[in-house]
Amino acid sequence: MVEGAGSDRLRGLLEFCQWLAETPGSVALHESIYAYPVVESVHVLTLCVFLGLAVMIDLRLMGVMFRGTRLTELSRAFGPWLLGGFVVMVVTGALLFYAIPVKTYLNVFFRIKVVLLVLAGLNALTFHLTIDRRRVEWEMDLVPPRRARMAGALSLVFWAGIVVAGRMIAYNWFDKPI
């Protein structure tokens, strides 16, 4: 263990999770018979909306699917659905964390998932700030430029990792002890 400011901050996060676990809402959700499974089901099934559409757009970026359709057309058609799906994913995901904060915080798969989420976000941000700025130049191409194909492929890899890590949170094989 590294001592000092860093570990103090981690201790603070753990204490925050312990405090969160004792709030009435967290206890109620944790002990609920139907609310928790319903929230979890919504979280999983929204995969079809958010991940499903993201995969289609990533495949377009890779020049594999929808070759004859401009990226702008695809994002106009599916942007609202993607955004809606993302909001549902975040809200239900936050509720799932809220129901079981300490165990989840200490779960190694949850930590991997958070790292992958940040990487997926950075990948999307990089794409929008670089090659996507010149979209008009290449969006009629059957196969987009290498940087765009790369962004699509990385996105698929990160999101696949997020799904797998998310599924594994249910297991405590490698949990950190408190």
């Binding site: 499974p37 979890e40 089901s41 999983v44 099934l45 995969l47 079809c48 909306v49 991940l51 499903g52 559409l53 993201a54 995969v55 289609m56 699917m65 929808f66 004859g68 359709t69 057309e73 695809l74 058609a77 599916f78 659905w81 999101w159 696949a160 799904v163 797998v164 599924r167 594994m168 249910a170 297991y171 094989w173």
Partner: protein, 150 residues
Amino acid sequence: MLEFFTWCENTPVGEAIRASLWLFPVIESVHLLALGVIGGAVLVMNLRLLGWALAGKPVASIWAETWPWLRGSWVVMIASGLPLFLSEAVKCYYSEAFWWKMSMLAVATLFTLTMVRRFALKSVESRWVALLSLTLWFGVGAAGRWIGFS
């Protein structure tokens, strides 16, 4: 019928998955990844059939784009779902959600191969075909998730 499910559970594949700590979640992860793809393909196709998305493209061209992915992910769903089933066949036998899922899967698949396909290839939008198709596929997913809770 129960005898058949018991036999399924005692197959070497079923036993191997039960004996392993990580085989079940790993196969289930594959099942979930394919869920994302099949969900996306179904959603894109039916949103077009509803006339809610990509209205500038003929329905037939959206069918041509999405169908290979729907078919491919359907095969992965079955291929990963089967070993999951074998590992807990008797539990499935007693699970109402399992029977709902299998019935809806059969209907949703047939409906897609017949009605959705027919309207799509004729490039005709149809609100009720799209909504029924979406409802059926959503039912398969929801009932599937519920097997885990039963």
